[in-house]
Structure formats: structure tokens, C-alpha cells
Symmetry: C2
Subunit: 768 residues, 2 copies
């Protein structure tokens, strides 16, 4: 499983250049951006989950000294934003969830802004509301978006009632499959709403120049996505919107889409001042976009020997008042993940994103896959127990192998699920005896990198050091270290002589965003191509300087020379100096870009909205060991073994860091974290009540980087970030079932739920 | 004289996109940059013009609460900076002029920093000082830079005593030329020290990250020059230094070189905080780098019919304590301009930049040429009067024509000096009778654009709008409007859909600086090449989409189509959308760069330091009309006709603006502005005492753009900025001589000097 090529820098665990600035507090984040004349923006949000705005009187607020602008739905552009274009910048006629903005003010300081909000008089007429996705699907349920066309204007998919997005995957003959099965099990699973837990709250500063040009300093995963949506909302050319991204303090899907940006632009236009909008850490819990909750029903038919013959899956996501990114991504990825890396001849998956009057949701790592895989891998263990088959064996028996088709019709290649399962099981000591209330569990997952285009520029400085211009935002993953390694590898220089530029959409070529575990696979390749373009220009210059034919000039270790005359080599520094100074030359600048090969969905198998694409599919197997406290019901996750097919690890430390971080989040998902709502109102609206996992709760993590199954990406890389998150929760839940003999089907595994389960167990038989 | 090609956007007087932001005050300048934890830096400067630093005790200053760092020469890197590498960041052992920094502090606020400065105890031992360049050249004069090697390490030229730079141009046989002459005149001229008069004082914010990387926000003409010099001083790779340039409020040569930047870096390193150093407007007069004063002696031999047979010129520049950019540029350009656009068979020019204990000087528009041309064009009028020849006729008789060599050995091409002289004379009504105390004068000049390399990137956004990435700083000239026009021309789109990026050396490819009237000629060509590269990539994509051979695909007006099938054209927006989304494609990014063709100096004719190169030589003829108040001696410049060979005006309004601005500065040079020193101490250190020209003093300007003599630059452009400044002062001085019958040889023409001259005239004969 070793790499198939000898590299100089690729594969080295280099430290991150930004580590020092971040640890010393020197790094500049969005909150540090302060512009002259900058106003403070604040939002007036709805206290009701569903209501008609009868009257909004802003007159007194406008007259308050120090108030620069008050805007309402009447001032906002009529267009909507989000994947589904269902979200207004400011709604004019009604509000759809608690926290929905009704008006916004820009004022000289926070106090004045708060005072202005209090002076705005609102008359709301409460409307019937619905808070459960299933209830929202029922006939006669209150309609959240009566104004939306029944066919999505953008995605050309049918939409009805409160269904925001509907997708299906189907092949084989489901009825026949179930009829042929010896056993058939139907199980229900639910997952909770979660905050992404990034350290840096949302913050944006918007400035509108007199000519109408908009600049935004914002914390985002996709500067070009923000640019595109703001440009569309405000009817501007893309060249009229500039998005700048300071350091970003985590994101995990929560900053994938515009949030405060359109409101900040509206306030900046109205006040003719730069305006900052930001959330406090506690507002993050009520005003940001949590992972949608879900209800997943799986029906699986098998032969008694464990071979899966048919599966039916229905996934219902509560997307809240607006679809955000949840609709297309959770629906598509959830549908794709409802089976997992297993073979089945007959499948039908149906997924619904459903509007409710809950807080509108967003993405959070492996949107859809985190939901579906929890259910699917949980049911495999339930079935194994029912059939008396070892869960590991059941997985080995049904696991995909190279050459078989995926649910959406692509073909698995370059994987070895069996080897990974066995490695994970061995490391967790699968067959070793367990102490009382200890258990082990295993789960698999797959993930592919998202496609779309990216481009980069690589330029040589006069001294041969290098600048990489990329629009991809390093969310804290170390992607810029990776880019520096890639440029250094291709140019044969020390990666410390490479700097990756700040993010500015005016300067950088397009990037499709740091989303979908695509950065190294996609932008990494753009950087590689740009570096090669730059190197080829240097080689061509060397040929001129050395008076040789281009094909006789070799480039190696940062030096160009004529074949057989390595002593007369020109270093990259010499070549670059010459390029900057010799008439007829010119500074060496390379460009590279690509749109990653799409892996299309087989339209014979899919219908409804199937969004995106996936490439460089990577398989993971994780095994967890847990201990349950029988007195308190507390679950301690002791250890997680994480075997991941990464193709090639460009920076193994960074890859392992991704795995550790992902597991930390997934353990929180499995055990402690949840947003609890009551009629749309958050009940645990503080970080002391929202139990994010701390370092003290971290299990021991054994990352296993499986290299050698190379993808078509740069150096054969496969994405890791989201892959690390998916299998942990089901592995933990399966381990808890192993420990206490009862399988919990609702996340998180709170002590209350575990205690209740333990009570059931005790009524049956003692564990161990 | 019309353009030779039909353009869509080139030649249109488009408004500047930055005009609104600048006029409303929204534009962010260096002074607006505020970083978290930023400290205020202040300098302790020498009160004496020349002194040994006996002792520097910073202990009490360091202990003051709120002081973050105190640095002295002991903390500074040993390397020196500037063209000649003669300037220390902080001198350890001696100071060479009043205002020379001895120590610097970083503190929490201005008051604390000032207090800390007062707590530093300095013991200085005064050394003998010298304040006149000629005196500094005499044997036994105090040596300012005893530490410098007698051979300049960088430029490999001999240096001795207080001579900083020495250059010569010589050809023919000077003695024989003078022997053959019927008449021979020797005249002396002096010019004063001047401030560049930009509105924005120097300001820099330096930040040093924990990893050592340096970021600088600074007001400069050359971000890459600052980067290179800071990197060299502090021993960093170029990739370890980032220079960002907000809007710049004028510069005119005064921000050509690092000034406060190295000190700010030193303070930021020592204090581990971002540090801001800035000058107040009044400090600008004492702490910035004025134009050097000069003494010019010309000896010219002629036949009685006016044909020039020989010229000897000696130019002595007082460069002050350090050479800055004065040495190489003033020396070289001064030497080249000591003859002007005239023919002579025998020439010897010798130029000296001389160290004195005056404030160290810098560049100010057409450094050297502004000095030499004043002298040369003044002497032509003196000679014409002496010989009884019309000054216009004398110029026409001796003027260069195509095919003759320049003093440095290049050949004049594409000029028509005679036509320009006649046009200027006609417009100023050369032969019309003048009112008493009114006079007209004429003067010529030539200027070439500086070479060196530049590169740019042009990228297409998803909607076909365009980003231009250029490292060239728009000093207020409108260069970014020009770049947008160039990109729009080549891509066939609306220039309002083009944005030129902010300046960041990490992102932008190399640019040699907004110096030497080179921006449009040089960077404009880089932008043109990058746009063409981008267009060719779009055309290649169109060929794939239209399934046609590349050579059959035409590109016109922002559309690509197969020859004969213009109806099935793909717009640039369509092509770009496809590039961003079609697998196998990739965002369209073009790169372009060049090192402008050098016009080498004939080494048979030149010796000593001859720096730079010039290309795209442009000829100018300006004529001025003045009125002198016989009671007060005040000179009113009524009108200036300015005929300039611009090759092709890309934005005629901007070109005329350059001419008007240059004339305004040159009238100040001629009539009112001067920095008056007494033993190295500025005597008129406030803007009320330093009489910068105001809008009320502006003459009527008639710019005449002579187009059609195309250069090898983009669209045939020739630089205009500095060309506009050079001939004005001698035209004004010649006009004053015409008005009062006495030729003044010392600038500026203060009322006192004019009155004294009038008294001489009255002793002779009444004017008119």
C-alpha cells in the first residue's frame, strides 16, 4: 500500500506556516477587520415561528441619533438566494421561523443599534405552524412557502406542499427482492439538529463604493459562491463584487452559503457606510444554520446467510424555514449513502427535504451521509444480532468490490473494503473478551470529492521563491501547506520558499469552494498544473539561455540543464532573475485549472434532484471501543481505530489531524450534542447547555492511512475531511449496543436514553 | 497624425472607476489601515547635521509604561539600502544630517511614544559639516561616508571623497569643436530643493508574524522594490515579505524608494506587534526626500549662424546625506538631458552626485532632466539673444531629426521636433506683439519610458466579466482605467466589466514600479499580452465547443464564431460559463509579461554609472506666456501650450490630465517653491511657508496630443507623465526674460530675484 512514486516534498509532514500566527493570536480574522466610518449592524428577528407581518413602523428608529439606516423587506431586492433560491434577504410579508429577520439597522455603535431595534414597532399575526417534517408532509399542514413555484426555477425539479427537494434512487425490483428474502427488517432512526461548533462566529463587513461596487470581508468556505450570490441578488456583474477572506476559524459546512452577507450589503447600500454584522457565540446557536434533523426508515430483506437482497430507504430531513444547502446536498448525498459500500440487487431510496417552522438548516460535514450512514450501519448491526452473524462478517459478506456498480451507476475501482475492515477490527481487538459494560463496534463509509472547476496561478519571484495564487480558503485544514508542498514538488524547491496568497476574488481565479472534501483533489491539481506551466516556461527560458533545443533541457531539483551537462545547470533563481531582467523575457507566471471529471448519475436509476457529482471515491472503516457507566448512563468512547483510503497523503500529519478532528465531532454527534427546540424555540441556547465535545472527552484515535489506491487527482490523492466523520457515530452506537445489549436508534446517546435502555436490558438479562 | 487602427475602447476618455470613492472620501488610504494591537512608532532624529553618536541611553524609555520597543543602531541589520546601498536602517556611530534617525520607539499611543523619545539620552559629538556640493568636492572637506568602499559594491563604479555617483557622456573632440566655433558662451545655472507636493504623507504599517514573515501596508510607487529591499535588509526570501498598497495619494518620485518601511519592520520585530510609522504633513518637509538642488555649468560653442559645434556640461547634484534614487537617476538622466533634442558633433557631459550634510534627497519627476533641461533650454535663449537669432529659429536649426544619434548612441526615429515647435509657437502667438511686461518663451524636452519587466494576469469570471491582476500601483494617474481599457479592447467587452485588483505582492506578478513614466508602456503591454492569452484560450475552447478547427474560429467584439457562421457565435460569457463547468475545461486565466526592449548606452560614449535605459522616446515642445508685475516682481504664468508626442493616447482625458498636472508642478518649480536650508536646518518648514502652486495660480493650459508616431509599446503609446514636467520651467524662464529683458539663471523666480533683475533692466533700457 505504499506510494508508487518517489517525491521530494509530497508525503512529508511539514508544519503549517500559519501555525505560529494562529497560536500567538497574531492572525487576523474577520472580527479584526475595521474600516473607517464603519457602522454596526443589528437584526430585528421574529419571536414567532410563523406569522404574517401586518405592519412594520421604523420611523422612530430612523429618527434616533446615531442611526444610519433602517431597512425592511420593502428595501430588499426581490430575488431570493440559496441553492433553491427560497430565502429572501429580508422578507416583506411574513416570517417563517423564530429568528427570521424582519428589519435591520446600521448605527454608530452596538447600544444605539439595540436601542433602534427596540423602537421598531411590529405587528405580527401569528399563523399556524408546523415543527415536524412528517407533520409538514401531511395534507392540510400549514404551507411555509406558498410563494414558491411548484417547479424549482433553478433546479427544474418538482416541489409540492412543504417538500423542498425530493430525490430518488431505484433499481432492480424491490417487491421481488423482498419476496425472495428469508427475513425482512424495518427499523426507524432519528438524528438530531447540531451546531457545527466552529470557534469563529459569523462575521461580515460590507462596503459599497459610490460607484456601486461591493466589497465583503467575510468568514466563508466559498468566496466565489458568496460573490456569485451577492452579485445575482443585487444585479451586479461578478467584477463588481469583491470578496475577501481573512483567516477562517473553522466552518464544517456552516459557512458554505451566504448568511449575513446580503443583509450587510443592503445596510451598507442604505447607510452609505461600511457595515459590520456579526453573531455572538450564543447567537450562533440560534441564528446560524444547524445540521438538519432527520428521520430515516430502512427496510432490508436478506437471505438467512446474511446476503442483502433488497433495501428500501426513506429519509426525511427537516430543513426548517429555508433549504440552505440542505436540500440538494443532504438529499443527494443521503440518498447515495442509504446503502453504504455494500451490494444489493434491488434498491429504492426516497429522500425529502421538508420545510417546517424550525430554524432553517445548513450543512455540517458529510451532509446526508452522516445521517444515512448512521442508520444503515446501525441496522446492519441490528440485523447481524438478529441473524446471529458477526457484524464484521455481515459487512465482509455484502461489501462492495472493484467492478461492481454504485447505487447511482458508477463503478467501484481501486478499493479494498475487506482489507480495511479486517485492519480496523484487528486493531480494536474485535475478538478479544470485553470487560463488563465495554463494547466494540465497527462501521464503514464511503465518500467522494466534489467536482467543479478551480484554477490557480503560480509565479516566480525575482529570487526564485514562489507565490501561489489560489482562491481556495484554508478553513484550518492546512490546505495552504499542501499547496506549498505541491508547488515546491513540481518546481523542485524548498516549500518554505513558497507563499500562498491571501484570498481575494478580484485577484484569484475561480475556486468552487472549500466544500465537499474537494480542496486538495481539485484545487491541489490546479496548483500542480500552474506550477508545471511555470516550470515549463522556466525550462523554455533555460533552453534559450543555454542555447539548446527544448527537448534536450531537463529540469530536476530546481535546476535546468542540457542533457549530459548537469554542471552547467541554471538554478530556478538564476532563471527567474534572467526572466525579470533580460529584454525579450518577462517574469515567469504559470496558470492552471480544471473542472474535475464528473461521475454522472445514471438517470435510469435516479430521479428528482440529484446534485453534484463525486469522484475519487474513498472507503473508510472505523472501529470504536466504548465503556458505559451503568449508574449514570454516560458513554465514554475509549478508542477509535480509523482506517481510511487516502490514495496518497501529501502531508500525513495534516491527514491524521483531519481524521482526529472528524472523529471528535462525530463523537459529539453520537453522544452529547443536540439543539433542543420547543415549538421552534431553542431550549438550550448557550454553549454550557450545548454539550460540544471537549479535549477531555476525546478517545484515543489510531488513524490508519491506507495509501496506494491512487485516484485521478494530483499524486493520486483522495479527500479525507468528511470521510473521517461519517463512520464514527454508527461505530460508537454499535459499540454501545455491544456493551449493553440494546441498540439505540436515536441520536445522541444521552445518559437518559442509555439509562432507559439499560433498564430494558436488566429486565431481560445482564450484559457481558 | 491620427491613429493607424480602429479601436473600440482604446482612445476613449472613460471616467475612472475610482473617482467616486476618492471624491466621497470612501477610498481607503494607508492612514486608514489599522491592525489589532497596532503600536505607534516614532523616531528620534538628529538635531545636528553631522555628529558622532557618543552614547545612547534608552533604559528609561524602555521602562516607561506603554512602551513596547526601543531600537537603536545596535539592533538594526548591518546591511544598507538605497540604489547605492549607502543608507543604514538606523546608524550606530554617526548621523549625517539633521533629521537622521538615531533611535525609534513603538508605544501604545502617540503621547507615550513622544514621552519615550524625550527619555532617551543622547550624547553627540558634533563633526565638521559641509552644505554645498562644490565645497564637499574640495580637498579636505569633511567626509560624509568614510565607511563606503571606494568602488560601489553594487554598481561597480568608482566613488571617491564625497562623490556618490559620477557619470560622463563624451564624443567628438571637444577642444577642436570649441576652436572651430565663432562664439563660445559659458553660463551657470542653479536649481533649488523641492518637495514633491503629494497630498498623502508617508505612512507604513509593518507586521511581522511569529514565523518571521513580514507584511507591509505602505504608500509606495514600487511595491516590489520595497519588497526586494526589505527582504535584502532583513535577509528574507522574497516570498517572506508581503507588500500591500492601498490607494496612493500622489507620489511623483518621492515614494520611489523605501523610506520608513525598514524602520517599521525593525520596530515590529522588536515589539512583536504591528507598528505604524507616519509623517505629519509638516514632517514631510523635513523628513521626506526632496529633489536635489543642482549647479549646472554649460559651455557652448557655435558658428555665428547658430549651429552648435560643441558643448561641455558639468552638473553637480547635492544629494544630501544619502544618495536615495538621486545618484543613478539624476546623474544618468541629467547627463542625457544636458544637450536636449539637438545635434552637436562634440560633447562632454560630466555629472556628480555629491554627499553633503543636507537632508538626503530623492526623486521628483524627471529627476536630472528637470535640472538639465532648465539649464540647456535657458542657455539656448541666452545664446539666441546674444546672437540676435530668434530662439525658435535657433531650436529649429539645431533640432534633432529622424536618423541622427542621441548623446548615448541610440538613434532618433519617429519624431518631428520641427512640427511640434512650430505648433507650440503658433498657438502661443509667438510673433504677435506683447503688452509691456508680458513675454513668451519656448522650450523643448525629450523623455523615454523606463524598461525592466512586468507581468499581469487576466482572468475571466463565470459571467465573462474580467479581473486584471497587476502589481502596478495607480498613483492617481488613472493607470488602472487604462488597464481596464486594454483588457476590454482585447477581449471585446465593456470596460465597466473589468476590475483591476488591489495591490498585493503575494498575489500579483512582478512589476518594476510606477516610476520613470513606464506604467502604460510597460505594464500596459503586460496586461495586453495577458488579455490576448486569455482570449486565445477562450477561442480554443470555442473551437472545441463549436467542433471547428482553431484556425477557422474568429474572435470579434466579445464573440467567437466559425468563419461564415457568425450567427452561431459563442459570447465570452457563454465560453467562460462553459469553462467553469465543463469537465475537461477549467477557468480561463491568461498570463503575460515582458521586459521592455532596452536601448543600450553606447559604452564608447559613456563612462561611470549610466543607469537604466529608455525606450519609446517622446519629444515635447512647450511655450509659455507670462506677465511680470513690475512693482512686486511677481510672475504670473498666463498660458502654457504643451505639444507632446504621445504615440497613441489610450485615454485622452487622462493624458491631458497628466499634462496639466505636470505643468502645475513645473510652474511651482519655476516660480514659487523651494526648501530653504541654513546649515542643514530647514527654514521654511511649514506648508504656508513652502509655496506650493495652488489652483488659483494655474495658467491656462492647451494640451496638444500629437498622435501617430507610434512606439513599440502597446498600441504605439509613449509615456507622458514626466515628459510634461520638463520643458515648462525653461519656457517660463525664457518668457520672463522676454518680458523683462533679463535672463534669470537661478530657480525659483522669486519676486525678490525678479525685482532685482528688473532694477538691472531699468538701469539699461525699458522693456517692450
Amino acid at each position: 500500500m505504499g506510494a508508487n512514486a518517489a517525491y521530494r516534498v509530497i508525503g512529508a509532514s511539514l508544519p503549517r506556516p500559519d501555525a505560529a500566527a494562529k497560536s500567538t493570536g497574531e492572525a487576523v480574522f474577520g472580527v479584526d477587520v475595521k474600516l473607517p466610518r464603519m457602522a454596526v449592524g443589528k437584526l430585528l428577528t421574529s419571536p414567532l415561528p410563523h406569522a404574517r407581518i401586518r405592519h412594520l413602523d421604523t420611523e422612530r428608529a430612523r429618527r434616533l441619533r446615531g442611526v444610519y439606516a433602517v431597512v425592511t423587506g420593502a428595501d430588499a431586492p426581490p430575488r431570493r438566494f440559496g441553492f433553491i433560491k427560497d430565502q429572501p434577504v429580508l422578507e416583506r410579508h411574513k416570517v417563517r421561523c423564530v429568528g427570521d429577520p424582519m428589519a435591520a439597522v446600521a448605527a454608530r455603535d452596538e447600544e444605539t443599534a439595540e436601542e433602534a431595534l427596540e423602537l421598531i414597532r411590529v405587528e405580527l399575526e401569528e399563523l399556524p405552524a408546523v415543527f415536524e417534517a412528517e407533520a409538514a408532509l401531511r395534507e392540510g399542514a400549514p404551507i411555509i412557502h406558498e410563494e414558491l413555484p411548484s417547479y424549482g426555477a433553478v433546479w427544474k425539479v418538482q416541489r409540492w406542499g412543504n417538500v423542498s427537494v425530493h430525490s430518488t434512487i431505484a433499481f432492480g425490483d424491490l417487491e421481488r427482492g423482498f419476496a425472495q428474502a428469508d427475513v425482512c427488517y424495518e427499523d426507524d432512526f432519528t438524528t438530531q439538529k447540531l451546531h457545527q461548533g466552529y470557534l469563529e462566529p459569523h462575521v461580515v463587513v460590507a462596503r459599497v463604493e459610490a460607484g456601486g461596487r461591493v466589497s465583503l470581508w467575510t468568514t466563508t468556505q466559498g468566496a466565489f459562491n458568496v460573490r456569485a450570490q451577492v452579485a445575482e441578488l443585487f444585479d451586479l456583474a461578478l467584477s463588481q463584487v469583491r470578496v475577501l477572506s481573512p483567516y477562517t476559524g473553522g466552518s464544517f459546512g456552516g459557512k458554505l452559503h451566504p448568511t449575513l452577507e446580503p443583509l450587510a450589503v443592503l445596510l451598507a447600500q442604505a447607510s452609505r457606510r461600511p457595515v459590520r454584522l456579526m453573531l455572538t457565540p450564543d447567537e450562533e446557536l440560534t441564528q446560524a444554520r444547524p445540521r438538519p434533523s432527520s428521520h430515516i426508515r430502512l427496510k432490508t430483506g436478506l437471505r438467512r446467510d446474511g446476503a442483502i437482497l433488497a433495501r428500501q430507504a426513506t429519509l426525511t430531513f427537516d430543513t426548517g424555514a429555508y433549504s440552505g444547502a440542505t436540500g440538494p446536498t443532504a438529499n443527494t448525498v443521503g440518498a447515495r449513502s442509504a446503502l453504504g459500500p455494500y451490494q444489493v440487487p434491488n434498491l429504492r431510496v426516497e429522500t425529502f427535504s421538508v420545510y417546517t417552522n424550525n430554524r432553517n438548516c445548513g450543512s455540517y460535514r458529510a451532509s446526508g451521509a452522516s445521517h444515512a450512514t448512521f442508520a444503515s450501519e446501525s441496522q446492519l448491526d441490528l440485523i447481524a444480532r438478529r441473524l446471529g452473524i458477526d457484524p464484521l462478517e455481515l459487512r465482509l459478506r455484502n461489501g462492495v468490490v472493484n467492478g461492481v456498480p454504485s447505487p447511482t451507476g458508477s463503478t467501484y475501482t481501486g478499493i479494498d473494503l475487506g482489507a480495511m475492515l479486517r485492519t480496523a477490527a484487528e486493531r480494536i481487538r474485535w475478538r478479544a473478551p470485553r470487560a463488563p459494560y465495554e463494547g466494540v463496534g465497527i462501521a464503514c463509509a464511503e465518500w467522494g470529492s466534489a467536482g467543479r472547476g478551480s484554477a490557480a496561478v503560480v509565479k516566480l519571484n525575482e529570487d526564485g521563491s514562489v507565490g501561489v495564487l489560489s482562491g481556495a480558503i484554508d478553513l484550518g485544514t492546512g490546505s495552504e501547506t499542501i499547496f506549498a508542498q505541491i508547488a515546491a514538488e513540481e518546481l523542485g524547491i524548498d516549500p518554505r520558499r513558497v507563499v500562498v496568497s491571501w484570498k481575494d476574488t478580484d485577484a484569484a481565479p475561480f475556486d468552487a469552494g472549500s466544500v465537499g472534501t474537494r480542496v486538495t483533489y481539485n484545487m491541489g491539481d490546479a496548483v500542480r498544473r500552474a506550477a508545471i506551466d511555470c516550470r515549463e516556461k522556466a525550462r523554455a527560458l533555460a533552453a534559450r539561455l543555454l542555447e539548446a533545443d527544448l527537448e534536450d533541457v531537463l529540469y530536476e531539483d530546481g535546476r535546468a540543464y542540457v542533457r549530459g551537462a548537469a554542471q552547467q545547470a541554471k538554478t530556478l533563481a538564476e532563471l527567474s532573475a534572467a526572466a525579470h531582467n533580460r529584454p525579450g523575457g518577462g517574469p515567469l507566471v504559470g496558470a492552471g485549472g480544471l473542472v474535475s471529471p464528473a461521475v454522472p448519475f445514471d438517470r435510469q436509476r435516479t430521479s428528482g434532484l440529484m446534485w453534484g457529482s463525486q469522484a475519487a471515491v474513498s472507503i473508510a472503516a472505523q472501529a470504536a471501543r466504548v465503556r458505559v457507566d451503568p449508574e449514570t448512563g454516560a458513554v465514554a468512547v475509549l478508542e477509535v481505530v480509523a482506517a481510511h483510503d487516502v490514495g496518497k497523503a501529501i502531508n500525513p500529519n495534516a491527514t491524521e489531524g483531519q481524521i482526529e478532528g472528524g472523529i471528535s465531532q462525530a463523537v459529539g454527534y453520537a453522544c452529547t450534542e443536540q439543539l433542543v427546540y420547543e415549538r421552534g424555540v431553542l431550549q438550550n441556547g448557550g454553549w454550557h447547555e450545548y454539550k460540544v465535545l471537549t479535549s477531555l472527552d476525546m478517545p484515543r484515535v489510531q488513524p490508519i492511512l491506507v495509501e496506494g489506491f491512487l485516484s485521478d487527482g494530483p499524486y493520486g490523492v483522495k479527500g479525507i475531511a468528511e470521510a473521517a466523520v461519517i463512520p464514527t457515530a454508527p461505530a460508537v452506537v454499535n459499540a454501545v449496543a455491544d456493551a449493553i445489549g440494546v441498540h439505540l436508534r436515536d441520536l445522541p446517546l444521552t445518559p437518559e436514553r442509555v439509562l432507559r435502555a439499560l433498564r430494558e436490558t436488566r429486565r431481560a438479562e445482564p450484559p457481558g
